[in-house]
Amino acid sequence: ETGEPELQRPKRSTELQQPRMAAERGNLVFLAGFAQNIEFRTGSLGKIKLNGEDLGECLHQIQKNKDDITGLKRTSIGLPQNISNQIHQLNSKLVDL
């Protein structure tokens, strides 16, 4: 309803808080307000696809990459230490000769 003029009310910015779908010179823009979110929610069978890429899989791959990197770090720190120990032992044996 367009009843009241609201002349007395303080500057209201609810307009700015409402999310919107906009076209800007042919670009399609989805906008949320200052502290508002844009959320994608899928059920178990539904997908969000961006130019054919499944967004869920992308996030999954990011996590998988992160986990792999954690594993690689562990081995690349652990193995050299192990190898250094063996080389140290070899040196000791050589000195003992």
Binding site: M21, A22, A23
Partner: protein
């Protein structure tokens, strides 16, 4: 006084659609490609296809949205022509039909030129609706006291100009015309001239556009044309020469309470207008404005306007000094059309 903009560009407004109804479930929807517009969406809609404007926006109220529904076979909705959103540029600032006066005196009407925002008016675009306004090519800017839009009130030209140039402003205002704010509020007890006289050709053109630019025929001979009115009307015009103590609002209230109840069928407009140049005007301290009281009646054969005009003249004769009215004259339209006198 304020004036409220009426038409919206809301998605749910049936009048915005080609078939005068909002798109049904599964409809194909077309927005004009090259018309900028902001569209408020209040509800959920299922659509099969929607072409968006190249520049525009859909503002989603809480709970509003769009879902996908393939063109339905059963409902006969998706099968017909697409629902077309009508040209959002069709609403003109100068069209009197598109404004509502915020004045309390609701039982009075305004002459056409004064239905469009006057120089001293505050203009309000409702914050709970989307809108688009065309500012036509008029000689100067449309001058008002303030403009309220998107919850902001603009009283300085710099602020208004920045808003109009912003994307939000360009989505809502278009056309070659200019808009200017900052006029004083009307401080005269006797009222203020609206200031739209120069714009009247544009105002009347906008209003009469659906009628092909012609006024409808009147029901009387020698119909009258009040100042600010686009078309002749039947009834009477009482002109009051006002003194310094005249109070426009008090006089309106007096008409509403003491006279109008006895003259059903007569519509009354009261406002201050420029005094027409008269050949033998007595020069001197007399105001260059007068109070125009328009008494209009759709059925002139009843003679109500004529009787009311005479009653108002008699009222001035009796109470003129108390009212602050120095003198009064009346003009009346002629006999009803079809009356064989």
């Amino acid at each position: 006084a304020y004036k409220l903009w009426i038409p919206s560009t809301d998605f749910e407004a049936a009048a915005n659609w080609s078939q005068n109804r909002t798109p049904c479930a599964g409809a194909a929807v077309d927005f004009p490609a090259n018309k900028m517009v902001s569209v408020l969406v209040r509800e959920g809609h299922s659509i099969s296809d929607m072409l968006l404007p190249r520049d525009g926006e859909f503002v989603l109220a809480s709970g509003a949205g769009f879902s996908a529904q393939d063109a339905s076979r059963d409902q006969g909705c998706g099968t017909g022509a697409p629902a077309r959103f009508l040209d959002p540029d069709r609403f003109s600032w100068h069209d009197p039909r598109l404004w509502r006066s915020g004045d309390a005196a609701r039982d009075l009407f305004s002459v056409d030129a004064e239905r469009v925002p006057c120089r001293h008016d505050d203009v309000v675009f409702p914050s709970d609706a989307s809108f688009r306004v065309g500012l036509g090519a008029i000689p100067g800017p449309a001058r008002v006291r303030s403009v309220r839009a998107l919850g902001q009130t603009f009283t300085r030209d710099e602020d208004l100009g920045a808003f109009l140039a912003s994307r939000a402003g360009r989505l809502r205002f278009h056309g070659p015309g200019a808009l200017s704010v900052g006029s004083e509020a009307c401080a005269e007890r006797s009222g203020c001239v609206c200031g739209n006289a120069e714009l009247q050709p544009w105002i009347c053109a906008a209003m009469l556009q659906p009628l092909g630019g012609r006024c409808p025929p009147t029901a009387c001979r020698d119909a009258l044309r009040p100042q600010g009115q686009c078309c002749d009307l039947c009834g009477a015009i009482v002109s009051l020469t006002h003194g310094p103590t005249f109070d426009l609002e008090r006089y309106r209230a007096r008409l509403l309470q003491a006279f109008l109840p006895q003259y059903q069928g007569v519509q009354v407009a009261v406002s201050k207008v420029p005094r027409p140049a008269r050949p033998r005007d007595t020069a001197g301290a007399e105001a260059d404005t007068e109070i125009q009281v328009v008494l209009a009646e759709a059925r002139p054969e009843t003679g109500g306007a004529r009787r009311l005009a005479r009653a108002l003249l008699a009222d001035v004769a009796e109470h003129g000094e108390a009212l602050g009215v120095l003198s009064a004259t009346a003009r009346e339209s002629g006999a009803p059309v079809g009356d064989s006198s």
